[in-house]
């Protein structure tokens, strides 16, 4: 099998891993070497499904010994199997990198033989890239659950970021779908790496290599096991707080295997729900929202029609509308239609002059949404109150016009009114 064929098989096998970020690490080009890491991360292209491609994301091998129901590489699937040799993979990475196709390597693997053996293969590639080829680009290594702590520690010395996927948000469902896995076995490497990183920070000097400078991330499948958004966001909040994760990714379940434990093959991936979860994640990371403000016991799932920020605002009419001349920065951030950049502009600009509507427009504020939640010198006093039941329909996207099919025998299905 030649490299091209292997690349096709092993990148297609890795495509369900969502993470492709190259941020969080700053590294100079090693003396006489190739490549650096840019802390903001750089996207190099976008695939036809609209996801950013920034790393060469491949599996070392897809010959897996496990049989997880949701996974394309499970033992019982009849698919072509392939394994890269370290040299093939290193050459590909360096040549792609020199052409500025990628920021670096995202290396994962199916479990071949034992977890230790698999982890050793991944480390060998990273180590050779760093030491023999003086490669300064980004390396993301998957931590294989069950690998020894000595190996995990080594991975942390060569990689910028490491990740272990939690896969299914609830432990019970995970054990049901993936009999060889459970949450405890996944938390173990996560916690180990998080602790080593903390320890390392205190003893680390300017000249010693850094331990996982870009931290850890994880990923969970959404819509495969009937979990609620409250469960998902509680879990990801825990990852941010306890394991100091840099990112938690959500992957809307794409049915790939016919399995009676999973949604039918004809199910469409829950893309809207996934999008709403990412919006909620953004609110937690950049907009100072608590997870329990976004969803709670009464509303355990996100509103699919409306983004979580607008739904929060409509549930809390007592805070709105706010005066943009005087409101706290934190409150500006909570206005639907105002993003981080415009909130900063407003906060710095209002010290000099009154901010009026035309300013907001020029700053890039989405007035179509924001207008109901703010008041400014031009708003008449009678409009300085928020009526959620009136505003909600105005925020929803306009319904698509109905397409008439005059040749079918089916009676016309009119959308329900109300």
């Amino acid at each position: 099998m030649d490299v091209r064929e292997k690349l096709n098989i092993l990148s297609a096998a890795a495509k369900y891993d969502v993470s492709c970020s190259s941020s969080g690490s700053k590294r100079q080009v090693p003396g006489g070497g190739l490549g650096n890491a840019c802390s903001a991360g750089i996207c190099h292209t976008w695939s036809s499904d609209g996801r950013c491609i920034s790393l060469l994301k491949v599996l070392m091998s897809n010959a897996c010994k496990y049989d997880c129901a949701y996974c394309i590489n499970r033992r019982s699937n009849d698919i072509p199997r392939a394994t890269f040799t370290p040299k093939e993979l290193i050459d590909l990475t360096l040549e792609f990198y020199r052409r500025n196709y990628i920021e670096g390597l995202f290396l994962s693997s199916a479990v071949v033989g034992t977890p230790d053996r698999t982890m050793e293969m991944l480390i060998q590639v990273a180590k050779e890239l760093r030491i023999v080829h003086k490669f300064g680009g980004y390396i993301h290594l998957k931590a294989i659950p069950g690998a020894s702590s000595e190996l995990l520690y080594q991975a942390g010395l060569y990689a910028d970021r490491s990740s272990v996927n939690i896969e299914i948000p609830t432990d019970k469902a995970l054990q049901y779908l993936a009999p060889e896995k459970n949450h405890a076995s996944i938390y173990k490497p996560m916690n180990f790496l998080a602790e080593r990183k903390l320890e390392y920070k205190t003893e680390h000097s300017r000249y010693s290599p850094r331990f996982l400078p870009a931290g850890q991330s994880t990923q969970m499948i959404v819509g495969a096991a009937g979990e609620t958004d409250l469960q998902i966001l509680t879990l990801s909040n825990g990852f941010y707080k306890q394991q100091q994760m840099k990112r938690v990714y959500f992957s809307g379940y794409v049915p790939i295997n016919a399995d009676k434990r999973l949604p039918a093959l004809t199910t469409k991936p829950p893309l809207v729900r996934e999008h709403r979860l990412y919006q909620a994640d953004w609110l937690m990371r950049f907009y100072k929202f608590g997870y329990d403000e976004i969803v709670d016991k009464v509303n355990p799932n996100l509103d699919l029609e409306l983004d979580p920020k607008a739904s929060w605002a409509l549930r809390h009419p007592e805070f709105f509308p706010i005066d943009i001349q005087t409101a706290d920065y934190e409150m500006l951030l909570r206005v639907p239609g105002i993003g981080v950049k415009s909130a900063q502009l407003i906060a710095s600009g209002r010290r000099f002059s009154k901010i009026r509507l035309e300013h907001l427009k020029k700053m890039g504020v989405v007035l179509k949404r924001a207008q109901y939640f703010i008041y400014h010198p031009d708003t008449p006093a009678c409009l300085r109150r928020l009526y959620p039941e009136m505003v909600r329909p105005l925020l929803l996207p306009k319904p698509q016009s109905l397409q008439l099919d005059l040749f079918s025998n089916q009676p016309l299905a009119l959308p329900a009114v109300g």
Partner: protein, 255 residues
């Protein structure tokens, strides 16, 4: 009223501003030489040559009055090559030097600054995106060569990044829309400006690189068919960049 023409460079523009102040010129418009729109026939044409000295003096004055960061913002906004950006910057500088309000320079939302600020933001946005979208091909002599056609004049802003990243490689990036580029010899010297008259031959030679095929393959197999989203793709990766991205050149299996 004068229609002032200059050589399209930032220093040239600063020389224009300097002369406007020195000679008390009544300026109606400022036209870069690259501009193809017809000259306003009701204005008298006037030429100002670039002078390094006056540009330096004006730069120092801006730094003293407003700081280096503002000078950079003006420079970046100027690279947008937007019609009339010169008059916007001039309006800002007039207000800045009129000394009505000593805190004026610190306000990013003033009527004069906000449009410049937003323009600079979109130039920086394209620069950041273009860092990832430069595609080198290995030429027969071992130089890595890339051709770009950005909307704004951002090549100079990007060079530092590639110099850091590929410090020990020989590479060249060429802006074929504006007809200039930079060559880096991999020995630690400053990248030197180049021009390429026989661009067609060079572009043909880039096709011979065998890794282009592998990259196209990778690009195809990493996409998830069930999630295909052409609208999102076009928003993230505008069609105007596709010309120089090999992965968007190959006939796609879907989309």
């Amino acid at each position: 009223m004068l229609s002032i023409s200059y050589d399209s460079s930032f220093d040239g523009f600063l020389s224009v501003v300097f002369e406007i102040y020195r000679q008390h010129l009544d300026v109606g418009e400022i036209r870069p030489d690259r501009s193809e729109s017809p000259c306003n026939m009701f204005m008298q044409p006037f030429r100002i040559e670039t002078s390094d000295e006056s540009a330096q003096r004006l730069k120092r004055a801006i730094i003293n009055q407003a700081g280096l960061e503002i000078l950079n913002t003006l420079d970046v906004a100027f690279r947008s090559e937007e019609d009339g950006i010169e008059m916007k910057i001039l309006a800002y500088l007039r207000k800045l030097f009129s000394e009505e309000d000593s805190r004026y320079a610190k306000n990013p939302t003033s009527d004069e600054m906000l449009p410049i600020y937003m323009t600079a933001r979109s130039v920086r946005h394209e620069e950041g995106g273009m860092l990832g979208m430069v595609r080198f091909s290995r030429m027969p002599d071992g130089t890595y060569f890339a051709e770009i056609e950005p909307k704004y004049d951002i090549l100079e802003l990007m060079i530092g990044h590639f110099r850091g990243r590929f410090a020990n490689e020989r590479w060249a990036i060429y802006d074929s829309k504006r007809g200039f580029g930079f060559y880096h010899d991999g020995k630690g010297r400053e990248p030197i400006p180049i021009c390429i008259p026989n661009m067609r031959e060079v572009a043909a030679a880039t096709k011979a690189d065998e890794f282009v095929r592998l990259w196209q393959d990778y690009y195809q197999s990493i996409a998830i068919k069930e999630r295909e989203n052409p609208k999102l793709l076009r928003r993230c990766l505008p069609v105007r960049y596709w010309k120089h991205l090999p992965e968007r050149q190959a006939p796609s299996k879907w989309a």
